[in-house]
């Protein structure tokens, strides 16, 4: 009796053994987020987007469990570097997703090259990361700052037929890059940027800047980030300029994350972006419904960015059958990913690791009592270089406050 029992146990163990051996280690994803300080709202949205992704896949990709380790960088680059080291050295992360801010991503770029860990940027838009400061381990799941504003430069000149425009943007790299992209394409298409204003990032009040806007321009380009789009548009309306001088902005000017707190002052504002919650495709409808059900708000830049980073991870893992440990093969697969569906739309990466995807021209409208970024025009297959040849583009200095030079300032 006991002998038969033991044999049975032994046999079952033999059968189970291969299964036990196959139950591999989980895939460890190091997620750089921001949970403290002024950038915390964006960090929360990044986490929400990724959580929806994980939930939809039941926490498993290619047969392996996903283990996500979140690290709070507080938006401080020195802390970002430490946290990245912690994720790589202490938590032995297989892949990093994040960080939130462009300057954080630049701070860890050299370290990532040194430790050779794949990283997918879910929000950092710094141009040079996929232009002049290339990193074989880095890909981006979202667009660069200017990738978004170059199309609206053309739209303003060719479709809306604006001739003279002023620009106002946050005085830091993201604002500079976006404005430069806009200015270059707008002027190449016959327009003139006659005024450029640069309010400091943490300015108390936009009143003195709004008063400086030349009254005889056709429209105003706005390039704000974080909470500033909300504050600016409100004050813009208070000073009576809404409706007098139309507004076209970058993606974060009327991002869904702040749009929900805005009112009538935002109606009619145009913007360009690689995502809109109002984009009517089956994949996006499903995504937006899931985010709304779970978090009671529409997804925007950060939420969609993090979710898409997950999509890239999933697609690359499928190609290597879940073997993320084979780093060269995994990176090769990651760079070859082609997404046909997804909240953003069809995407593939260019040879620099940056997505080629749709750019949507959006207009703020009220639907079902809620403000949304309705898509009014789509530029398909837009790259970070717009219509310029990559080599010539890269031969120029990176977009900055002084490049391209503003020749038409009055």
């Amino acid at each position: 009796m006991t002998r038969r029992f033991f044999v049975l146990v032994l046999l079952s163990m033999l059968v189970a053994a291969p299964a036990v051996a196959l139950a591999q280690e989980p895939i460890r994803v190091g997620f750089l987020t921001v949970r403290s300080g002024p950038l915390a709202a964006g960090g929360r949205q990044l986490e929400e987007g990724f959580q929806i992704f994980i939930k939809e896949r039941n926490g498993t990709l290619s047969g392996r469990k996903l283990e996500v380790i979140y690290a709070d960088t507080a938006g401080q680059p020195a802390l970002t570097k430490t946290k990245t080291q912690e994720l790589v050295e202490r938590n032995r992360a297989h892949i990093i997703i994040g960080p939130l801010a462009a300057f954080e991503a630049l701070a860890i770029n050299d370290y990532i090259k040194q430790v050779e860990v794949p990283i997918i940027s879910s929000s950092a838009a710094a141009e040079d990361l996929t232009q002049r400061k290339l990193n074989p381990w880095f890909i981006r799941a979202v667009g660069t700052s200017a990738q978004v504003t170059q199309p609206i430069g053309e739209y303003a000149a060719k479709v809306l037929r604006y001739k003279r425009m002023a620009t106002i943007a946050d005085d830091f790299a993201y604002g500079h890059e976006g404005t430069s992209g806009f200015q270059r394409v707008f002027e190449d298409n016959g327009g003139k940027v006659v005024q450029k204003l640069w309010p400091p990032l943490n300015v108390a009040d936009y009143g003195s800047y709004i008063a400086q806007i030349k009254p005889n321009v056709d429209a105003l380009y706005t390039g704000f980030a974080g909470a500033n789009g909300l504050r600016f548009l409100k004050q813009y309306a208070e000073y009576g300029l809404k409706g007098k001088i139309p507004v076209l902005g970058n993606m974060t000017n009327t991002d869904e994350g702040i749009l929900k707190s805005m009112g009538d002052e935002a109606l009619g504002a145009l913007s360009a972006g690689w995502y809109s919650a109002a984009n009517d495709t089956p994949a996006n409808r499903k995504f937006v419904a899931a985010v709304r059900a779970e978090f009671k708000a529409d997804p925007g830049y950060y939420t969609a960015g993090a979710y898409t980073a997950g999509l890239f991870l999933e697609a690359a893992l499928k190609v290597v059958n879940g073997k993320i440990e084979d780093k060269p093969a995994f990176m090769k697969a990651l760079r070859r990913v082609r997404l046909t569906e997804g909240p953003i739309g069809p995407m593939r990466l260019d040879e620099y690791g940056n997505p080629i995807m749709n750019m949507y021209i959006r207009k703020v409208e009220r639907k079902d009592g809620r403000l949304v970024n309705s898509v009014i025009h789509t530029y398909p297959e837009t790259s970070q270089f717009w219509t310029y040849a990559p080599k010539a583009f890269l031969a120029n200095p990176v977009y900055s406050r002084d490049f391209p030079p503003a020749k038409n300032i009055e």
């Binding site: 709202a41 943490n202 008063a211």
Partner: protein
């Protein structure tokens, strides 16, 4: 022409806002010699409380009181339970301990606000009666900003009357001039301190609610506002409410016109006049004594 009018009004409005922010700080520092570095956080906390009050359906005036009271209560507890303990310490150690505790509290309040209200920026709605714009001579200016200037003037007047015409005010002034003598004369120094601290905190909290429609409420508001309050009080001079008043409007104008005329100096335009004044006259414009 319209441009200069609007910018002047902007300077005025910013000055009014700065006075609402810094009057509390000036009061506390003038009497108690406490550099209350939690001040920016009190401003922000008042704004968040006001926002919740408005969200609960209360009207603006009640929300204003709610913001002021909540922060006054918090400030009172801080003064009684913590700052009071430091009074017995030697002066050098006391100053450092004050810096440590007020900054520590600022961290707690800032992170607490992030926890309770989340990180999304939220606009404080302008009360309907005070909204709209003034349209004259071809320019448009938001009415609410003019209201802020008027309120700042009223607060300044109320504080001045309070200090000059009431017994409590006289006691405060006596304490500011010479604390030891005042205590020796039998003034209830301890109760005075708590009163002044609560008043200063309440001013900060109400300032936050009043500033909300212009600045919005967002994490980081505290660290954006604190240097402004410090600059105004130092420029105006320690212990002088008139100094805080004048300093606010000087900074308001310098900042507004400085940004316009010298955009390259936008990041430093706030500090240059202050450094200039301090280097030439360390006690500030109206200070009664060096800090």
């Amino acid at each position: 022409m319209a441009f200069w009018v609007i910018q002047s009004l902007n300077g005025l409005a910013l000055g009014g806002l700065l006075f609402l922010l810094s009057s509390g700080f000036s009061l506390i520092f003038g009497l108690m010699r406490v550099a209350n570095l939690t001040h920016g956080a009190y401003f922000m906390l008042g704004a968040y409380v006001g926002l919740s009050a408005l969200g609960a359906g209360l009207d603006f005036a009640t929300a204003l009181l709610a913001g002021g009271l909540a922060v006054a209560l918090f400030g009172g507890l801080v003064e009684r339970l913590i700052l009071r303990r430091l009074a017995a310490r030697p002066p050098a150690q006391r100053t450092l301990a004050q810096v440590l505790v007020t900054l520590g509290l600022a961290f707690i309040i800032a992170d607490g606000c992030l926890w309770i209200w989340g990180g999304d920026p939220m606009p404080l709605p302008v009360p309907a009666a005070l909204g709209g714009a003034v349209r004259a001579f071809g320019f448009v200016f938001p009415f609410y900003r003019l209201v802020v200037v008027v309120i700042a003037l009223l607060v300044a007047l109320a504080l001045w009357l309070g200090l000059e015409r009431t017994r409590v005010g006289a006691m405060i002034r006596a304490g500011v001039d010479d604390m030891e003598m005042a205590a020796g004369m039998g003034l209830p120094v301890s109760r005075l301190f708590t009163t002044v601290f609560c008043l200063g905190a309440a001013l900060a909290g109400m300032g936050g609610v009043l500033g909300g429609p212009i600045l919005s409420v967002y994490p980081g508001l505290d660290t954006d506002m604190l240097p402004l309050a410090l600059v105004v009080v130092i420029l105006g001079g320690i212990g002088s409410l008139l100094g805080a008043f004048v300093g606010s409007f000087i900074i308001g104008f310098v900042y507004t016109f400085g940004q316009t005329l010298l955009p390259d100096l936008a990041y430093v335009i706030l500090f240059l006049p202050m450094v200039l004044v301090l280097v030439l006259r360390p006690r500030g414009l109206f200070g009664t004594r060096a800090a």
